[in-house]
Each structure stands twice: as C-alpha cells, then as structure tokens.
C-alpha cells in the first residue's frame, strides 16, 4: 500500500515515447504501482535503456558526473558501472521490483527527500528537456525524436556500396523447389540403372571427379588458396571464379549447364582443363550481372545434375552418414523431400536406405540430396564409433501431425485430399 501512496518517481532515458508508455504501463501493472513516470526534473530515480545509443550516451554522461540520485540501467549485456543498479533484459518483474526497492533504500540512506535531491540534481538539462520520457511525451501526438537522427548514427557495418551488387539476381534469387513430378526431367536418369531398386544400390553411385563437378570443386580449392580471381578453362564456357565474394560467373543458361554437368569428362579432355589466375580488372570487365551465382548454389546444382539420383562413390551405403547442419535452402535448388531429409539427419547419422525407409520416399531423393550436401562438405560418412554403434533416434510423429500437414500443404500450394 505504501508503494501506491508513495510511488517512486522515475524518469526514463534512452526510450522513445512508445517504449516509455510501455514502461509506464509496466510499472503500473506488473510492478503494482511501485513507481510512476515523471519528468526528469521531478524524478527520484533515473532509468536508462542502456542498449539504445542515446541511452548509453546519457548513462555514461550521467555516471561520469556526481550521482545525485539512484540510477537503474536495463541492458542485454552485463553492465559495469559503479553504483548503478543493473537489470538484465528481458526485464523480469521481480528484478525490476528489487531494483526499485534498492533505489528506494539508497534514497533513504542518502537522507534526503526527493525534492531536496532534485534541487541538487544535475543529470543533464538536455536530458530533462529533450530526452527524458515524461507523461506528456508519452502521448502519441507528443511523440518526437529523442535526438536528431544525425546524433544517433549507429555504428553499422560496411554495406554494399555498389548498387550493381543488388542486381545480381541469380545470386540472390529465392530457391527453386522441385516436386517429385518434375524431378526426373530436371535431374536426368542413368540408362540401364534403377537407383530405386535395392538390388542395384551398390551400383547406384557416381564419382564426382569424373564430372564437371570434380573440376569445379578442385578449381574452387585452388582459387581460395591463391585468393585471386581465376578462370576455369574447360574447352566449353570459361567459368570466372571470385573467391573473395564467393561467386562465380558463367555465360550459360541452366539448360546448357545441366547438359554439360551430366557428362562424364573424357580423361584426355580432363588433362587440358586448367585454372588460370586473372587480374581483377579483367575478371570484372563487362559482366552481365544476372549471370553471377554464389559458389555454393552453383556447386550444389552441378552435383545434383552429375548425380542423376545416385550417391557419391566415397559414401558407403551400408554405413551412416551425418549432416553437419541444415543447408541454406533459400539459396539452393531444393530437391524433393530435402527439408524432411535434413530434419531427420540433423537428429543423428543414418544410412541412406534407412532414411528413405523412415520417410517412405524413393531412395533417389535421398541420394541426390546427399550428393549435393556432400559437394558442399555438409554431409559425410559418420566416422565416430559412437555414431555407428548408437541406433538412430526413433522418429516420433508430432501430436499435431494433422494440423502441421495442413499448414504445409497450404504453403506448398497443394490442395487438400
């Protein structure tokens, strides 16, 4: 009751009118009226949002001067100010109540009434005038900038200055999500091999080194070690590699690229394939912006086309494979069931056939996904003994299976059956 009769008068700093209003409601509601928000000139206590730029500056300025009244500072981070009552965000009611109680005790120990303390108060006239949140300022019409935007420039990281960068549509475009229907036509098949037949699993592999994929992979490694723009010469279209920006540039469309990626490179031709460092000026000369692609997205799709639904030869199909983490699917070709496979594999290593069995999908979808993830170093053979010995975790269907399925169908535009 004493709190309601004699609430602490607090001034808010480093918050805009809306945050201030929220804070005022918070003090009134969850904090049971232990404090009320007043103008800085009439306050007993100062409360700062130390995560706002202006708030931190004001806190520093206030703290550097003689403190004439208690300060409460809220922050995501650990605060290291002597005599300042720190509250870690998210602000919990108990913490705020404890902080207000401490402030009240400090005021009592100072032996001054709020009025007397206010006479001595020199937080900052500018704070009181422009930046503290007063009840009046919390009205929407009174909402105004705490400081000029110019004074509040946050420390931002380096941005892309070249607007042309934003026009690299291939690099930034959203992923293409393949359905089962379009898979065969898009990915291709290997004549005479049924990759979905368990009896033919042992033959359903391919060696990335024999395809364009292997040469690209090797060229990427070379370029990264040289840290210089280079050109991969294949006798087909030259591929320009930009290791620093992690991009490639190729003057070919996906149909052409798919055809080339699916071909086994003749060893005689392979010997002629080379990587040549080129000057930055030459590399950047008059390049169509829409033909830039990210290295990862490029290698991923090349691997899909080389795989044609097979798995990499270095993977032992009878041993579990791991997935390091979820691929960045919004910037990659999303093969059928790729998200489901990822969700399953991040739970623990499994063999490729067991993935297909658990998800009740054709093995080719698992094989092609593993080929692509393997090309980026995201998937590999589980080598740790514990991975091999321990049984993969059992898949537990969610209790909300039905509704989750309906949401999913809505997202992928599938009509309810």
């Amino acid at each position: 009751m004493d709190n309601i009769k004699n609430p602490l008068k607090v001034a808010l700093h480093g918050m805009d009118a809306r945050s201030g209003k929220m804070m005022a409601m918070y003090l009134q509601g969850p904090c049971k009226g232990m404090a009320i928000v007043v103008a800085a000139a009439n306050a007993d206590v100062d409360i700062f949002d130390a995560d706002s730029i202006s708030g931190r500056q004001l806190l520093n300025a206030c703290h550097a001067k003689d403190m004439h009244r208690p300060i409460i500072a809220m922050s995501l981070n650990q605060l290291d100010y002597a005599q300042v009552i720190a509250i870690k965000k998210p602000v919990k009611t108990d913490d705020m109540l404890a902080a207000l109680a401490t402030a009240k005790t400090m005021l009592g120990a100072a032996g001054g009434t709020p009025d007397k303390l206010n006479q001595n108060h020199r937080v900052d006239q500018k704070v009181a005038k422009d930046e503290a949140i007063s009840p009046a300022a919390s009205r929407p019409e009174a909402s105004k900038p705490i400081t000029d935007a110019a004074e509040e420039k946050p420390v931002l990281k380096r941005y892309v200055l070249d607007r042309g960068e934003l026009k690299k549509t291939s690099k930034h475009k959203a992923a293409m999500q393949l359905s089962e229907t379009g898979f065969g036509a898009f990915i291709g098949i290997v004549p005479g091999l049924d990759v979905n037949d368990p009896k033919q699993f042992k033959q359903a592999h391919y060696d990335p080194k024999e395809y364009f994929q292997g040469y690209i992979d090797s060229a990427f490694v070379t370029c990264h070690s040289l840290a210089q723009e280079s050109q991969l010469n294949t006798g087909w279209m030259p591929l320009i590699i930009f290791p620093k920006s992690h991009e490639v540039w190729l003057d070919a469309d996906d149909n052409q690229l798919r055809s080339f990626s699916g071909l086994v490179i003749n060893p005689a031709l392979g010997k002629k394939i080379s990587v040549t460092p080129i000057s930055r000026d030459l590399a950047r000369q008059e390049k169509a912006l829409e033909k830039y692609q990210s290295m990862d997205a490029f290698l991923w799709k090349i691997a899909c086309w080389a795989s044609k639904g097979r798995y990499p030869v270095n993977i032992d199909i009878s041993q579990p494979v791991y997935l390091k983490h979820w691929p960045n699917f919004t910037r990659l070709l999303v093969t059928p069931h790729a998200l489901r496979i990822s969700a399953l594999l991040v739970q623990g290593p499994r063999t490729l056939p067991s993935i297909a069995e658990s998800l009740n999908i054709k093995p080719q979808y698992v094989f092609v996904f593993i080929s692509a993830a393997y090309s980026l170093g995201l998937a590999g053979q589980a080598k740790r003994e514990s991975d091999i010995l321990s049984k993969p975790p059992e898949v537990k269907p969610s209790k909300k299976h039905g509704i989750l399925g309906r949401i999913l169908n809505k997202l992928i535009g599938k009509k309810a059956s």
């Binding site: 805009d16 809306r18 945050s19 929220m22 918070y26 969850p30 706002s52 202006s54 809220m74 995501l76 981070n77 965000k89 998210p90 602000v91 009611t93 909402s143 105004k144 900038p145 705490i146 935007a149 509040e152 420039k153 420390v155 931002l156 990281k157 941005y159 892309v160 934003l166 959203a174 992923a175 999500q177 920006s245 983490h325 979820w326 960045n328 699917f329 919004t330 910037r331 999303v334 998200l339 489901r340 990822s342 969700a343 991040v346 998800l359 898949v395 269907p397 969610s398 909300k400 299976h401 509704i403 989750l404 399925g405 309906r406 949401i407 809505k410 997202l411 992928i412 009509k415 309810a416």
Partner: protein, 178 residues
C-alpha cells in the same frame, strides 16, 4: 474451430511485418507507427503492439501469424504471446552491429517455448551485409550446442518465408508429407 499460431520475433527492422505479409492470406493488421527514436535510423516505422496475419486452412481452420513488437523487451508480453503457439520464427537483421547478440538474446528469451516446440531462423539483409555468413551462424549455434535451420531470407519473398516456415514444420515432425 481450432485456432493455431506461429510467432515471428526478432529485433527492430528484421522484417517480421514484411514476412507475415508475404504469407498471410489477408492484408495483415499492422500496428506500425512512425519511428521516432533509435529505430528511426533502421526503419521508418516500427511495430508498436503486434502484427497479425492469417493463413486460411482447408476446413475453415486458421493459422494465426503474430509478430512481436521489436522494441519493447518485457517478458510478460511475450509469455502471453507464445502461449499455445506451434513454433517460433526468429528473424535476424545482418546489418546490425552484432547479430549474434540478438540471436542469443532471443534464443534465451524464448528458450522454454523453443524446447517445447521448435524454431527456424531467417537472416535478412544479407545482400547489404554478407558477414556474418550463414556458416558463421551455425558455428555460433554449435557453441551453444544447438542446431536449428538457418536460412538467408528476403522477407519480401514468399518462397523464402515459406521455406523457413516449412523447415519449422519439418523440425517439429520430419515425417510430415506434403
């Protein structure tokens, strides 16, 4: 009729309002107002209370999409908001000075909810600031012993937001069939 909800959270300017707009069937109810403080340097308006959108599902069911306010960090509001939610979409703005601090903050704040459900993380503004990379985020998550879907996201792109939500759903149940 059953009601379900997904929560979109993240710091100011991360694209929560836009992301909801991208997949909502109806124009979302926005409670944005002109920004007047630190948020002004990041965007022209900011969410005062909540953003709300809806996806109409077959059979008359609805999936409600709620965006948390970006500024106010008072746990009592968020507790109410997540109550009964299916899962969390966390959007992070890669142009902020330290997106890892943001990520840690939101993961800790929603820790209980995430443990009960799942989270998918979208990183926005990567065309403006390409560091940290998505791999860097995974490394950071691994240091917390966590593994969640993290995608580069353009909140304006329905396909991006859709994939992010799909990853959330599959994280909840990999056996889901579309």
């Amino acid at each position: 009729m059953s009601q379900y909800k997904i929560i979109f959270t993240g710091p100011v300017g991360a694209g929560k309002t836009t992301a909801i707009n991208s997949i909502s069937d109806t124009p979302p109810i926005k409670t944005d107002a002109a920004a007047s403080d630190m948020t002004k340097t990041r965007k022209n308006s900011t969410t005062v209370a909540l953003d709300y959108g809806v996806m109409n599902l077959p059979g008359g069911e609805k999936l409600h999409l709620y965006g948390t306010p970006g500024q106010e960090r008072f746990d009592f509001m968020w507790d109410i908001l997540v109550n009964g939610g299916i899962g969390l979409i966390l959007l992070l703005d890669n142009t902020r000075s330290d997106p890892f601090v943001d990520m840690k903050f939101f993961l800790e704040t929603f820790d209980k909810f995430i443990k009960e459900t799942a989270v998918a993380i979208g990183v926005t503004q990567m065309d403006l600031s390409d560091k940290p990379t998505i791999d860097d985020y995974h490394v950071q998550l691994r240091s917390y012993n966590l593994q969640f879907p993290i995608f580069a996201v353009d909140a304006r792109e329905k396909a991006d937001v859709s994939l992010l939500v799909q990853s959330l759903l599959y994280s909840l149940d990999p056996e889901l069939e579309g």
